[in-house]
């Protein structure tokens, strides 16, 4: 089941061994050489969507937020799949379930403080969770609203200042959550930013997004949205209370919305302050050849694993894609290898044959639409189209981000489906509006370049979130394919009621095969991230929780 992962790990380890043989000392993937001090630069071609813990639901923003605020639990600071493990953060453990996992109790550590020196209490955590119910602060993770008793009626602390009764704080150290259903992995959900403490007297509402109060190793010194974020040490953060974050650099400076090619160029050169920089996003295809052919650059390349699967979403409500034979034909016609090459080739990941990626509990090997090297099976696709009475082909519209990469992926889909007579028109959508557009059932076209990372390393936030037809909403919809199957919905409920996580994972794996036969999506890539870091950066590794991007909480600089 995890064979692919092992292959991946061996490849990484092999690369490290090779560089060690070359006698090179510039080893980005190693640890222990990083020292305290210096300014770490982060070059990002993307934007930080939200820093407000109630709204922060994008992995790159979560990675940055881990420098600023702490949550009840968090992901382990480890490379590879071990990073998926949930460890205590503000709490002394990962939560104690009782009442058949319907009540969860956390105890806060001693000596945890906000940036102004005030101690963090359970009431601050309660207030932080309550804020996520406020309609003014949308876009955050839905779990508190879904699971807490009375969560369906509560409208947040601004409208209901009395608070939510199902979050109890018997004393300043203890917080108790009462849930409306048994949730086996509530301790994992507690790693999401909405479980960060927010001091009520410093809450500025919508404005909190620009200046969240720090409970972690860094506080915000200066923030120019869409441009630059400067972090300095929070002197009230006590490393003895934090086994996760290292807080090595004195300052962390993020440059946002840079041109991806410029980021690659600056890190390839690695001159001046860029020697102490890391890239937020993986290298572009155009840089892969240069990096692979240059041992000095290859040393500085971090390969991070992820639990992200990229797929082509097929809108099951729109003709002729409402015909399962047509969707199966598309699954056979798609050239997954070309799509991977567009994203950078083998360095960008493995060709996907299942939705649940290897390394994620529940992954079961399966390939219902096999083809040589993932290049597609044109004959089988044509036969299926003929069975559907569409041998002459048809026209569809594909939603793709208007970035260079998004267009290139669109053209790869266009060329692959063109082989079986399907004419694809690309609808390029600005990247900042892309997901909200395809999440709008009225605006989503026939197909979309898509993908999913679970909220924690487990299958429970994978299949139900994107295939449960009862969760389809006209806006903010995650079931982009608008897939509807009563049998699958029923199975989701049965699996959610299973007490044993291992049994639930196996059941999800089997259910994934059943869903794959209906082809609401065509998985094409299990992501990996190849990230360049500057020559003076040490201790960098890719983290699964952040789609293989460098774990910012632990990276440092060498002397």
């Amino acid at each position: 089941m995890s064979q692919c992962t092992r292959v991946g790990l061996v490849a990484v380890v092999g690369m490290l061994a090779l560089t060690a043989c070359n006698g090179s000392r510039a080893q980005g993937g190693s640890t222990g050489e990083a020292v305290r001090g210096g300014t770490l630069h982060v070059l990002a071609s993307t934007d930080l969507e939200h820093l407000d813990p109630a709204r922060n639901y994008v992995t790159s923003s979560q990675n940055v937020a881990r420098l600023i605020y702490r949550t009840l639990t968090t992901v382990a600071p480890k490379p590879g799949q071990a990073g998926g493990e949930i460890v205590p953060d503000l709490a002394t453990d990962t939560g104690r379930p009782s009442d058949g996992a319907k009540t969860w109790t956390f105890t806060l550590k001693d000596g945890v403080k906000f940036e102004d020196g005030q101690p963090i209490t359970s009431k601050d955590v309660k207030y932080g969770v309550e804020r996520s119910f406020a309609p003014d602060l949308p876009e955050g993770a839905p779990y508190a609203r879904m699971w807490l008793v009375g969560g369906d009626r509560y409208k947040g602390p601004y409208e209901n200042p009395g608070g939510l009764a199902s979050i109890e704080t018997p004393d300043d150290k203890t917080i108790v959550f009462r849930l409306n259903r048994p949730v086996a992995d509530f301790g994992s959900a507690a790693s999401l930013p909405l479980f960060a403490p927010v001091p009520k007297e410093q809450d500025t509402g919508v404005g909190y997004d620009g200046r969240p109060v720090s409970s972690g190793p860094y506080k915000i010194e200066k923030f120019e949205p869409k441009k630059r974020l400067e972090l300095v040490r929070n002197t009230h953060w006590d490393p003895k209370t934090d086994e996760v974050r290292k807080g090595l650099p004195d300052r962390v400076v993020l440059e946002l919305n840079l041109d991806p090619a410029v980021v690659d160029q600056r890190l390839v050169a690695g001159q001046g302050a860029d020697a102490e920089a890391i890239a937020m996003e993986p290298i572009g295809a155009a840089t892969v050849g240069r990096v692979v052919n240059d041992p000095a650059l290859k040393d500085r390349l971090i390969t991070g694993e992820s639990i992200n699967t990229r797929f082509l979403t097929l809108n099951t409500r729109r003709a002729p894609l409402d015909n399962v034979k047509v969707r199966q034909a598309i699954a056979f016609a798609l050239d997954k290898d070309a799509l991977r090459t567009v994203r950078g080739g083998p360095i960008a990941g493995d060709i996907a044959t299942t939705l649940l990626p290897p390394g994620l509990a529940g992954h079961a090997a399966d390939d219902q639409f096999p083809s040589a090297d993932g290049k597609g099976d044109v004959a089988k696709a044509k036969a299926l189209l003929a069975e559907a009475g569409l041998a002459q082909g048809f026209a569809v519209t594909l939603d793709a981000p208007s970035t260079a990469g998004g267009k290139a992926q669109g053209e790869a889909v266009q060329a692959a489906l063109g082989r079986v007579g399907i004419t694809v028109t690309i609808n390029a959508i600005s990247p900042s509006a892309f997901y909200s557009t395809i999440a709008n059932t009225a605006q989503m076209h026939d197909m979309a370049i898509d993908g999913w990372t679970p909220d924690w390393a487990g299958p429970s936030t994978y299949l139900p979130l994107i295939f449960d037809s009862r969760l389809i909403t006209s806006e903010g919809n995650n079931n982009h394919s608008q897939y509807h199957s009563d049998a699958v919905n029923k199975r989701f409920d049965e699996i959610a009621a299973l007490a044993d996580p291992a049994a639930a994972a196996t059941a999800y794996g089997e259910l994934a095969k059943q869903i794959a036969r209906d082809v609401p999506v065509v998985p094409f890539l299990w992501d990996k991230a190849a990230i360049l870091v500057g020559p003076k950066v040490a201790g960098a590794y890719g983290h699964v929780a952040y789609v293989g991007r460098v774990d910012l909480a632990t990276v440092g600089l060498r002397k």
Partner: protein, 301 residues
């Protein structure tokens, strides 16, 4: 303004005089070749410009073309596009079709609109002239490139090629219109027009029979000169992502996608860049030569 009769020396045919200049002769040959290439694109290349060739690129190197100079081989005479392996020659040839067609049609639009409005404004003067003149000033003082980007992004996605022609022509006609207006003003006061008017010719005949034929030369010159401008603007708009839509090949789009590859695969940048350069240069040289031949005021010394 000095009024000079625009006459053509009848002794030497204009084409022969054009060909006497070596630079003009070369430019004409290049332009003819480009036009032939565009017209007979399907006969020149057998590969489709949109067909991926994954064997021609190396995925392990991020899709870098296999082989030297961007994967130049017998199968792909100008190499392949990185990542997709699409044939560069096919994309250049079909891209020429798009570029030239859009440039020629946009020129046609600007010449027709510019001539009609310029002629009317110059001939009639008064209120008509004031309205058309202000309209031309307005359009010419616009930051047209920025406006074109905004307009093309905002308009519904019907037919990008047609949209480009209309937008380019719509912003280009005042340049024709201004020249035509000036000439028409001069001609309207000419003796032959006065004579025709005295003979009782209707206004329509004055416009079409007397003034318009004398505008052929300046219009022809300005049209030839504007084609390279439209080619470059279309490439620029495609470069900025508001030109023709993929997978329709376009030189500007090719240059845009080659930018990140300039270090890894310089050939992919140089080939479409070179074609764009040669095309614009050839049209410019030819335009200059046409003006020299047809316009006796600008004889080179």
């Amino acid at each position: 303004m000095t009024v000079l009769p625009i006459t053509r020396p009848a002794d030497v045919p204009p084409l022969r005089r054009l060909l006497r200049q070596p630079s003009a002769a070369v430019a004409l040959v290049v332009v003819v070749l480009l036009v032939l290439m565009a017209v007979f694109a399907p006969l020149l290349v057998w590969t489709s410009p949109t067909e991926f060739d994954s064997a021609a690129v190396d995925p392990a190197l991020g899709g870098l073309p296999r082989g030297a100079f961007g994967g130049i081989s017998a199968e792909h005479p100008l190499g392949v596009e990185p990542v997709s392996g699409r044939d560069v020659l096919a994309r250049i040839v079909y891209g020429a079709r798009v570029s030239l067609l859009i440039a020629v049609l946009a020129t046609l639009v600007s010449v027709v609109v510019g001539t009609v409005l310029g002629l009317v404004a110059g001939f009639f003067g008064g209120v008509v002239d004031a309205v058309v003149g202000r309209l031309m000033d307005l359009l010419m003082s616009f930051p047209s490139l920025i406006f074109m980007i905004a307009l093309i992004s905002a308009l519904p996605e019907a037919n990008r090629e047609a949209l480009l022609v209309l937008v380019l022509g719509g912003f280009g006609w005042p340049y024709v219109g201004r020249i035509v207006r000036g000439q028409a003003m001069v001609l309207a006061r000419g003796e032959f027009v006065a004579a025709a008017r005295a003979l009782g010719a209707p206004r329509r005949a004055l416009l079409l029979r007397e003034v318009l034929p004398n505008l052929t030369t300046p219009v022809l010159v300005v049209a030839t000169m504007s084609i390279p401008g439209y080619i470059a603007t279309e490439a620029g708009l495609s470069f900025l992502g508001v030109g023709v839509r993929p997978p329709t090949p376009s030189w500007g789009q090719m240059i845009a996608s080659a930018v990140p590859w300039y270090a890894a695969d310089p050939a992919y940048f140089l080939i479409p860049g070179g074609f764009l350069f040669v095309t614009v240069l050839a049209f410019n040289v030819l335009g200059d030569a046409v003006r020299d031949v047809l316009d006796p005021r600008s004889v080179r010394r």
